[in-house]
Amino acid sequence: MRRALHSLTTLLTVLFLALISGAPALAEKLVSAVSSSHVAITSNFTGTQILVYGEIARDAETVSRTGNQDVVVVVEGPLERVTTWRKDRIVGLWINATSQTYIAVPSFYAVHATDDLRNIASDDWLKQYRIGLEHLPLAALGTRAPALERNAFKAAFLRSRVQHGLYSQMSKSINFLSPTLFSTTVDLPATIPTGDYKVTTFLFSGGVLLDQQEQVLTVAKTGFEQVTFNLSRQHPAVYGALAIILALFTGWLAGVIFKKD
């Protein structure tokens, strides 16, 4: 009896530990994929969409859960350093007066979910996994501004990014094709920066993270765009000389074509 009780306690402890650490060892496992691991920027690139899809896999022994299962997909671009400026009226002129600088903010950020984020998990969970615009860690560099001021800057920064289509948050945007199959399409606007993107899929149930999966998405220029960009970075003198020659040639050609007298 004691022995049985002991093993039950151990099992519960393991379960509990596994739950709070979000280890994938438990019942539901998540399998996810991205429609394409490369986004090629070509001369006619006007933005694109990627499909993130997957399945919630259950072991044969697992009793299916009664609680709601929620899936969250987060697409995060390469990190960058940005400054948000605010203009003030100084001697009658509107001038950039105060600023806040954020280090390591994502250049692109999209979150899609099966429900409102606040119904999926608590703020602590969401903060820990950087899920949701308001949970992005936006710590201003060396500021002593009061909280109200900091929040105003943060809101302005997020507003600007959302306006430019670089940040987005959508609830109920993940479709379940079957009880276990899900998919969502994420818009990548034309102005997305190049680099490696992180696509993370989270599986929540009853406010607890059950599993997470990560894929890498590479956004890169190809063909002529890539050759041009690389030349401008690796051989700037050659690039500059080419630009001048091209300009002189175009000007000369036009002169010849339009020669009248």
Binding site: I41, S43, W94, N96, L246, F258, K260
Partner: protein
């Protein structure tokens, strides 16, 4: 986002797509004015590009390349009409390069202080405003004089101002000038300096300076100014390609094609127009651009906040 729009082309350096026909039209319009007035048109094109969403650094750098092309076809056109003083252009160019080098240095200092935008706006307002008003006033006077039937005040052989009293005189045969190199160096270097700080060619300042200070004949002044602009802008393109790496060759080519075509028509129309009418038009244009910048500084912006990326993501 416009999906499937066939007119969109992706700019490899600016890293965004843009409507080809919009850029083409911008280049064409500015090119026409450039040929008409003998200006590079940078002071129009750079703000236009910035207002259409292209990053300021790319706009400034790429416009220098576009000006090389549009002034090249202008230079050819004036060359055929023997409207260039090569010696004068050479002296102006050398001093212009010195001025640009100093300008690039100051540009770096201003940028590190974080108020480059403000300085650029204030400089646009001040210079464009002043020069616009001066040109308007002068050309109006000239037009009134002509209307009232008085003979235009042509250049008399004995007419001199203080500039002509300076030492180190050099003879410029084509311009029928015998003047000191000091004012020429002054004009060339200060316009080169302003040009690299403001991202413009400076033709709209060069032309009046040559006319009023040096008294270069009107039929020579535009071609000579264009040749000087071509030289300085070619140097600027090269420096930008190396320093800021923001010359977008695709954007430049699109602007050029529109620009050179426009410049041809502009130069032809300009030959058939009276000098004072041209100066009146240019004065108005310069003043308008200056006012546009003043408007931005004085009127409360819709959004007080703006976001700028300091450090690009690691590629």
């Amino acid at each position: 986002m416009t999906r499937g729009a066939i007119l969109q082309i992706y700019l490899p350096i600016a890293e965004l797509p843009i409507n080809v026909f919009m850029i083409f039209a911008m280049g064409g319009t500015v090119g026409f004015l450039s040929g008409l007035f003998g200006i590079g048109g940078g002071f129009l094109l750079t703000p236009l590009l910035i207002f259409s969403g292209i990053p300021p650094a790319v706009s400034v750098a790429t416009v220098t390349t576009q000006i090389v092309a549009s002034s090249a076809s202008g230079v050819l056109s004036y060359w055929r009409k023997a409207g260039i003083d090569f010696k004068l252009a050479g002296v102006l160019l050398c001093s212009g390069i010195v001025g640009s080098a100093i300008g690039v240095w100051i540009f770096g200092i201003l940028r590190s202080l974080g108020q480059l935008d403000l300085v650029i706006s204030l400089a646009y307002v001040t210079f464009l405003g002043t020069i616009g008003v001066l040109m308007l006033g002068e050309s109006m006077k000239a037009i009134m004089r002509r209307k009232s039937g008085k003979a235009p005040a042509g250049r008399k052989p004995g007419q001199h101002n203080w500039v002509h009293g300076l030492p180190f005189k050099v003879r410029f045969r084509r311009s029928k000038l015998y003047v000191s190199v000091i004012p020429i160096f002054g004009i060339g270097s200060s316009i080169g300096f302003l040009g690299s700080v403001l991202g413009i060619g400076g033709g709209f300042m060069m032309v009046p300076a040559l006319i009023y200070l040096l008294r270069v004949p009107a039929n020579i002044v535009i071609g000579t100014s264009l040749l000087q602009i071509l030289g300085t802008m070619a140097v600027a393109t090269f420096l930008h390609a190396i320093n800021t790496q923001s010359v977008d060759i695709v954007l430049a080519l699109t602007l050029m094609i529109g620009g050179v075509i426009g410049a041809q028509f502009g130069a032809q129309v300009g030959q058939g127009m009276r000098g004072e009418h041209l100066r009146l038009g240019l004065g108005l244009l310069v003043l308008l651009v200056g006012l546009r910048f003043a408007f931005n500084l004085i009127v409360e912006p819709e959004d007080l906040y703006s976001v700028s990326v300091i450090e690009e993501p690691v590629k």
